[in-house]
Symmetry: C2
Subunit: 309 residues, 2 copies
């Protein structure tokens, strides 16, 4: 029997990579033969967590059907965010905290989604339900996922369950969640060695509404100028992606993790729709979004609504 | 705040109706304001269970958006099996044991699916996870769902978890699962007062493969002749449905619950595909399928495969 691959989404973030690791560990403890893999190299934030807790970096794959027939998905379900040959594979399980869209299976499966801030909060429940002990390095990775997805508990996606889970995991991992959390998030804002092209691809998601192709990239920072000082290069990189992929809207969301605000930069034939979506006025394609940090709760639904009209 | 409606699938079977009741009870115990409703009147089997355990028959609705914005789905997810105005509603939760198909949401939700024989087996876990006590009449209804969906534990969809859940629920309900189970299943085979039209609509599901419209109706019996003695009327009723709805294949599956076999009757321009799907030869549109009792495991996947070629 070939291994079951446990896979997070493309442009993996910390939740995606660490959830693959923690869910694979759980499945193996329950007798399955699984391996956590990733659809891209860890970003700086994720690498910080992997190094801190001395965990192995998951193998990067670009397809799965050459080595297995069975996969489990974590932190995503939409096929366009998954391994490109997903349609050829049997999906045994999904653990996720997103909407369900562009997803279907031929047979019944295990699907566990909850409207919480992080996949790891759900995975912690699964460890408890199966009474499997969590090793301290796995707990540290799980905590990292929660801190990353909730921006240290300030995102509107963060629930009481996420906070309680983080506290519990921090205890097992032996770290102070606030102190470790800020170090983790800061590590993710070190983008000095990234090209503009890499920067707008680090954490980007695509979707379609009403025949319009939309891509929303998000970058965390502790100083907007770190990003906007490179605006000309970034503009050029976005224009290339818009042309190459036919996006009607490319939205770059730059989030200040210390102030919990964002600045957006909108490009494409549908860029104006952001004015209606967020009740703002674009200036040179830019605008400030006070209190906005969550793509899932404060960006995608508003864009979807505005594009549906 | 209007009530959240808890809804099973169209042409409701015992699992669908009783899962709406048991999940609604659980949600209300957890502080939500929900009501179990149904997309059709209970069949004879379900009515037997409702009467036996002195439970109220859920209100039948044909749409939900006139009275609520929020629903929870049990025992199904595919929109064509749900309330007709499902696209206008927010789906807060899904508890199911089927494949996922033609399903999508705009926002994150609670989704719990497991590849077990019955929705009630999953709902029992939820009661335990939330430490909510199950009243004996609810336990009886939950047991009825499991017996119905697994044909008293003989269906290949039946798992060890379903059997254990049924034993546990039978104890709370104070019934002998084998004796009560046979009475329940027999009640469902009493179709003497049904017209041919009703008979082929009692438990029927539609889907599309490769542009072909397929409908698979299933009827339980303890004597094939109860059904096939009315073949002329049934044929006429099926022909009407094929013409009215443009089905390429209408498959009637008559399952003998005592012998755990089925006879099928295939109509429509794609009727021949059943020969390839099940490795049989149709005679006057009919064939015998030894050991076949599960539409989900032994009919739909084989038809889907054959129609995909």
């Amino acid at each position: 029997m070939s291994k079951i691959l446990v896979i997070g989404h493309q442009n993996p973030d910390t939740d995606s990579i660490t959830s693959a690791i923690s869910f694979s560990y759980l499945q193996n403890a329950l007798g399955k033969n699984t391996e956590a893999v990733a659809l891209g190299a860890p970003n700086e934030e994720t690498q910080f967590a992997l190094d801190y807790f001395k965990a192995e970096t998951p193998r990067v794959i670009s397809g799965a059907s050459n080595e297995t027939r069975e996969v489990m998905l974590v932190d995503h379900n939409e096929f366009q965010q998954s391994v490109p040959d997903i349609e050829e594979l049997t999906i045994l399980a999904v653990i996720d905290h997103h909407r369900i869209s562009n997803f279907h299976t031929a047979t019944p499966l295990y699907y566990r989604a909850e409207p919480v801030g992080c996949t790891q909060t759900i995975i912690l429940k699964l460890y408890k339900e199966h009474q499997i002990e969590i090793p301290s390095h796995i707990a540290g990775l799980m905590l990292s996922g929660i801190i990353s997805d909730t921006l240290l508990f300030v995102s509107p996606t963060c629930t009481d369950e996420d906070i309680k889970a983080a506290q519990e995991l921090a205890k097992i991992a032996g770290v102070d969640p606030e102190k470790y959390g800020l170090d983790l998030l800061k590590a993710g804002t070190n983008l000095s060695d990234k090209t503009a092209e890499e920067l707008i691809s680090l954490d980007a998601k695509s979707f379609e509404v009403n025949g319009k192709k939309v891509r929303v990239a998000q970058v965390n920072t502790i100083d907007y100028m770190d990003i906007f000082s490179k605006k000309a290069e970034i503009e050029a990189a976005i224009s290339r992606q818009v042309n190459d992929n036919g996006y009607n809207l490319f939205l770059l969301v730059v989030t200040n993790i210390l102030d919990s605000d964002s600045r957006i930069f909108a490009t494409g034939s549908s860029a104006q729709v952001t004015e209606q979506a967020f009740g703002i006025k674009l200036e040179n394609g830019e605008a400030f979004l006070k209190g906005v940090v969550s793509r899932k709760k404060q960006i995608i639904p508003q864009l979807t609504e505005a594009l549906s009209n």
